[in-house]
């Protein structure tokens, strides 16, 4: 049990500190860093899905006016480490996926760089590629572990026996699509080596973690970390795709080393992002449920098949939420991967939980229908007393309260059992649960200094729209016992103390804990009357870490769907969520996090789908005109509420993470609402009118 910090600044609905710069457009993103006489880089990409580069004719590019540098796998410098295939840029003639980087042109202007890159002629020894994900493949394999260090498979009891003897059983296969993060700011960097090209490197990079990015680049280029500075005060969205660096960062660093002393800028085009900046693997989820007539689960199991690239493994932890959401004596989860000639999958908002809360949450709705039971009630009767996975008690779990309050706020009781029609529209309600683990990273350090009569906290944290610029001062103010107006925070630069990645909804938990430690060290050393320049440091590893409880945030989402009786058009006029996510430090920014996640979940349900062309080995709809994300007119009334929960075990703020939970469960709630409206059960995302239309009465 932790002594919770007295909330004074925490809980205030403050306007973002970076707000004025953002509404004026003067907040400086990576590519925009003002530097004298920058040069511009444009990549050359492979146009085959598998093979070897046999030659590159760069003559036209090299003789073009304004071209400064052309690099190919045959001319680029050898990197110190090529252990990570993704970062071994221009180090091999092997092509592992279409769109892979095979060259770069640097020129005086972006127009010339692009034109010159287009003139580079690449010849290949093309090999046949294999890029079809299927659960029937005979080469599926079990990875050693899945993401976040989770075991690949888990089993308890005997699922098969429970299924065979169950009063009610359900076995269905569900599919989520391939998704691309598509932050509005592309992956972009301004890179500058010192004049000698070997002493010091500065990267203004769009990243969710300046220190993790520095560590990766230092290793690849064989530099001491002190030789590299990474700066990123603002991130134009990331959603995981900027959580670890991608090949573009290595490419621009190589390009800039060829022009020492001159800054080189590289922003991926939107089209290039579809093969170079990561994506969420499509998943195939076979879900098994066995229950008695009262709805109590006797067995719950999920067998997941998904893809990774042949050259770098990424194992989405899709089965993980099934391990802990509901009680059942017999349980099983498995993950199998197909290693394909495809771009490298990576992190996307709520990896694991986002796809993994689709299949099971739709399956529960199907089970409720079979039982003739309210789907809210079905979830309530399967509430586990302790974490079924670890056996530990919950640090706090208020899923039932979220379901009950959510149902009341939404008007769930007005939901009849059957189809309802209003004019040309069928109307239905759906529900699903949400969950996200509460994570704290192992390393993060903060300093607190007294400077010109103000308190300054420094930590290399990132704000990708999450609110760190605003929330960290609130935490620091309460830890120091001063007004939030007397606190400045500096983030987004490796010159500040080491911070962990903004990922896993762990930022505020981790960095906030370090800031509180620093503040307490500061007060312990200097009391309440410090002198100018007094400074203290705190580490997250000094903060109490509870190992005895299972810590998760929970939620419930309710959806009203309307399906047009003639066209099958699907609209979602209402989306309402109630969350139990610990203390909310800034209600204004927190609400945006919740509704943003929920709306991205709505987008996943209805629109998003990277249409894979297996013959070409590429995404066919690789731009924002054809990869549809929810636009303003697709979004109706979106409400996020939260319970007054202060978790006493997770940290001194009493807070959990809120950046990702909003996207979990949403797509299932939409599918369930569409089924309630129409009687059509869609088990493969996205829910589009062509899937609904044949089943309409």
């Amino acid at each position: 049990m932790t002594d919770l910090l007295e909330p004074r600044a925490m809980g205030q609905s403050l306007v973002r500190r970076d707000g004025e710069a953002k509404v004026r457009g003067t907040a400086t993103y990576a590519y925009e860093t003002p530097v004298p006489a920058p040069a511009y880089a444009h990549p050359v990409q492979a146009t085959v899905a598998r093979g070897r580069v046999t030659g590159m004719d760069t003559a036209a590019a090299e003789t073009m006016d304004g071209v400064l540098v052309v690099l190919t796998p045959f001319t680029a410098e050898r990197l110190a480490s090529t252990e990570d295939w993704e970062y071994a840029v221009l180090q091999t003639d092997e092509v592992a996926f279409r769109g892979q980087l095979v060259g770069v042109v640097v020129a005086e202007t972006s127009e010339v760089a692009r034109q010159a890159a287009d003139t580079v002629r690449v010849t290949y020894d093309e090999q046949s590629h294999d890029a079809v994900l299927s659960a029937d493949r005979d080469d599926l394999y079990a990875p050693e572990q899945v993401n976040a260090g989770h075991p690949t498979d888990t089993a308890e009891g005997d699922v098969a026996a429970a299924m065979a003897t169950a009063e009610v059983r359900l076995e269905q296969t569900y599919e989520t699509a391939m998704y691309h993060n598509n932050p509005l700011e592309p992956h972009a960097t301004t890179a500058l080596w010192d004049a000698a090209g070997d002493g010091f490197l500065t990267l203004w990079d769009s990243t969710q973690g300046v220190h993790p990015a520095r560590a990766a680049v230092s290793e690849v280029f064989g530099l001491d970390e002190e030789q590299v500075r990474v700066v990123c005060p603002y991130v134009g969205g990331g959603f995981g795709s900027k959580g670890t660096p991608h090949a573009n960062l290595v490419l621009v660093t190589l390009a800039a080393r060829a022009l020492p002393g001159r800054a080189v800028k590289l922003a991926l085009t939107r089209q290039q992002m579809f093969s170079l900046a990561g994506y969420r693997t499509p998943t195939i989820q076979q879900v098994h449920l066995a229950a008695d007539r009262t709805g109590r689960l006797r067995a719950i199991a999920i067998d997941v098949v998904e893809q990774t690239s042949r050259v770098k493994e990424f194992a989405e932890q899709t089965g993980v939420p099934t391990r802990m959401m509901y009680a059942a004596p017999n349980r099983r989860t498995t993950h199998r991967l197909a290693a394909l000639d495809v771009p490298i999958p990576s992190w996307m908002r709520a990896p694991g939980e986002c796809p993994g809360m689709f299949g099971p949450e739709v399956a529960l709705d199907e089970l409720a229908e079979t039982l003739g039971m309210d789907p809210v009630q079905l979830r309530i009767v399967n509430e586990p007393e302790v974490d079924p996975d670890s056996g530990k008690p919950w640090s706090s779990r208020h899923l039932v309260e979220c379901l009950r309050e959510g149902a009341e706020r939404f008007g769930w009781d007005s939901r009849g059992p059957g189809r309802r029609r209003e004019g040309h529209w069928f109307v239905g309600y759906g529900v699903a649960s949400s969950v996200y683990p509460t994570m704290r990273q192992a390393t993060s350090t903060a300093t607190v200094r007294f400077e010109d009569g103000r308190y300054v906290a420094e930590i290399g944290a990132a704000d990708l729209g999450t609110g760190a610029w605003t929330v960290l001062p609130q935490i620091a103010a309460d830890a120091l016992g001063v007004d939030v107006g007397d606190v400045d925070v500096r983030i987004g630069d490796t010159r500040y103390p080491t911070a962990s990645v903004a990922g896993g909804s762990s930022g505020t938990n981790t960095w906030g804990s370090a800031v509180v430690q620093a503040a307490r060290e500061f007060r312990g050393k200097f009391g309440n009357d410090p002198r100018d320049g007094d400074e203290a440091t705190g580490n997250v590893d000094q903060a109490a870490m509870d190992e005895d409880h299972a810590a998760y945030a929970f939620g419930a989402q309710f959806v009203e769907a309307r399906v047009h009786a003639d066209t099958g058009e699907i609209r979602v006029p209402r989306l309402s969520g109630v969350f139990a996510a610990g203390r909310i430090i800034n209600p204004r920014t927190a609400r945006s996090q919740f509704i943003g996640g929920m709306t991205m979940g709505l987008s996943m349900a209805l629109h998003e789908n990277s249409v894979w062309d297996p013959r070409m080995g590429q995404v066919a709809n690789h731009d924002l005109a054809e990869y549809h994300i929810a636009v303003n007119a697709d979004v109706g009334d979106v409400q996020a509420h939260w319970l007054d929960e202060h978790d006493p075990y997770v940290n001194v703020m009493g807070s959990k993470g809120i950046g990702e939970i909003g996207i979990t469960g949403t797509a299932a709630a939409v599918v369930n609402a569409v089924h309630h409206a129409t009687g059509v059960r869609v088990r493969s995302l996205p829910v589009t009118l062509d899937k609904v239309l044949p089943g309409l009465p």
Binding site: R16, Y31, T109, E111, T589, S592, L624
Partner: protein, 170 residues
């Protein structure tokens, strides 16, 4: 091929030589150092580059600079030229109608242009009566702001922000 043009940007006049392939967006960002308008797609698909060009909301990435010799451009930064935020900008702060901030200058220029269009009585796809004065309803604002993508999905805050600013503007 290069061409000499003049542009007025946020009240300041510039004479400059541009590659005839250069867009208004790249002219602003890479030649004049005005990075208020953002590049999200370079294909007119996301709206992040929206500026006011001769008073109308325009996608700067789809306009070639050489075709707009003499034009007057206002970016989101220019809307607050006197140091005081435009009512649309103030409403965005109060409604938290943004997160990462990358689409925000485009959203704001688009909202300013859109409110003028409503003032002129221009109907939209969702306007029931094409001859009536359009209202600043949720559906009208959402429809008219749908050319501006927000991946953080602040839409549910953008609509009330535009309504708030629209209500105050006269």
């Amino acid at each position: 091929m290069d061409a000499e043009i003049s542009l007025t940007v946020d009240g300041a006049r510039h004479r400059l030589t541009v590659d005839t392939r250069t867009t208004v967006l790249d002219t602003l960002r890479e030649r004049l150092g005005n990075t208020s308008p953002k590049k999200g797609c370079d294909h007119g698909q996301c709206g992040a580059c929206t500026v006011l060009l001769d008073g109308e909301r325009t996608l700067a990435c789809l306009a070639l600079a050489v075709a707009h010799d003499g034009a007057e451009l206002i970016t989101a930064d220019g809307l607050a030229a006197e140091g005081e935020l435009h009512p649309v900008q103030q409403a965005f702060l109060e409604q938290d109608a943004y997160q990462c901030g990358y689409c925000t200058p485009g959203q704001i220029c688009s909202a300013v242009g859109m409110l003028q269009e409503i003032d002129r009585g221009w109907p939209s796809h969702v306007t029931e009566d094409l001859t009536a004065e359009p209202e600043l309803s949720h559906d009208e604002v959402a429809e008219r702001m749908s050319g501006n993508l927000c991946r953080c999905a602040a839409y549910a805050n953008i609509v009330p922000a535009v309504q708030q600013a629209g209500g105050r503007r006269s």
